[in-house]
Subunit: 204 residues, 2 copies
């Protein structure tokens, strides 16, 4: 049982790395198994299809990321400080990825959105749920900031969507130029999108 | 000669449609030729590799889009009006794409950036040139707007990058949710990112 569970973890880990490096369509099951060091039979013991594996990789990655987001956004401090720390954590993750792989691999969910979302409804649906959850979390922080008069948005949910969209857009360029410095303007832009009080923006 | 040139156009057209629908990696040369209605020999007469075709599709699409961008941004009117018309044109293109294909296909350059840019340096380089050219065009308009006191950015080039990043992020979500309404906040966000004068933002 221990060995079986280990094989599943190996397949998931190898698939996540390969999908981050080369996308989903370019991969074959044989390559994933070879990279994971498990026989092909193991793959089909755990996953009926390559799509089922992709969904498991997405869920696995979101479980990690959601934990990080919740920890940061539920921590001590003013709402905008917590939001700033979330952006700093995102930048740190991209820098670590570049250090490990030699190239900025971007956001797994954004990558799969542009590669896959209009091809499989199961993946589209799962990615929608994840981005909805991200927007929910950012929305809650904006609601807090609004109650304190720190920001001036008319619609907190729309503002949260714009903050996440801006994040995905900058991560796209960090990947294209293989340069995490491209993430530098994230926080100032977030404050501009939220109509943050000038003295808060000035404290950057 | 007429027939040969026609075959090249057919291959490019079919490849562009298929890449927009399903990405690059998922496609094979045989499928592209079948969709174009040309024999496989024609493909290799015009293109040495599938990557060479992808570069030709990118160039072809950019030639079209650059013409549209130049026409709009060099037209009559105040700088921010021209920028607003550019966003409206982008929304119209995405709506037309959804009407024709049943699904929002997003930005071909953004799609290929997230799918391909860390796999082939030739495609990465070409996409960088295109986004640099987009940023140049937006930058020129921001410089004009700044000279008139319509916006208050400290660094016009960085502001232009943020405007394009924001555009790509919103197009990503329009694709994921197959909903062009997701592009609705583009213009208000652009004004916020540019620190536009309140009376201009209020005129929305």
């Amino acid at each position: 049982m221990g060995r079986t569970s280990d094989a599943k973890e190996k397949i998931l880990g190898a698939a996540r790395t390969l999908i981050e490096l080369r996308g989903y369509s370019a991969l074959g099951v044989a390559e994933i198994c070879k990279s994971a060091g498990v026989p092909k039979g193991s793959f089909y013991y755990f996953f009926d299809t390559k799509e089922a594996l992709a969904l498991a990789v997405i869920d696995d990655h979101w479980a990690d990321q959601e934990r990080t987001w919740k920890r940061i956004l539920a921590s001590e401090g003013e709402p905008l400080d917590r939001l700033r720390r979330l952006f700093e954590a995102t930048q740190a993750v991209q820098r670590a990825g570049q250090r490990d792989c030699g190239t900025v691999s971007g956001c797994l969910f954004g990558n799969l959105t542009l590669e896959m979302s209009n091809q499989t409804e199961a993946i589209r649906g799962r990615l929608q749920e994840i981005f909805d959850a991200q927007v929910d979390m950012i929305d809650a922080v904006i609601v807090e900031a609004l109650a304190r008069g720190d920001v001036t948005v008319a619609d907190t949910r729309e503002a949260a969507r714009s903050v996440v969209a801006q994040l995905e857009g900058h991560v796209l360029f960090a990947k294209l130029y293989n340069d995490t410095q491209r993430l530098g303007p994230l926080w100032a832009n977030c404050l501009a999108l939220l109509g943050a009080r000038t003295e808060m923006a000035g404290g950057l």
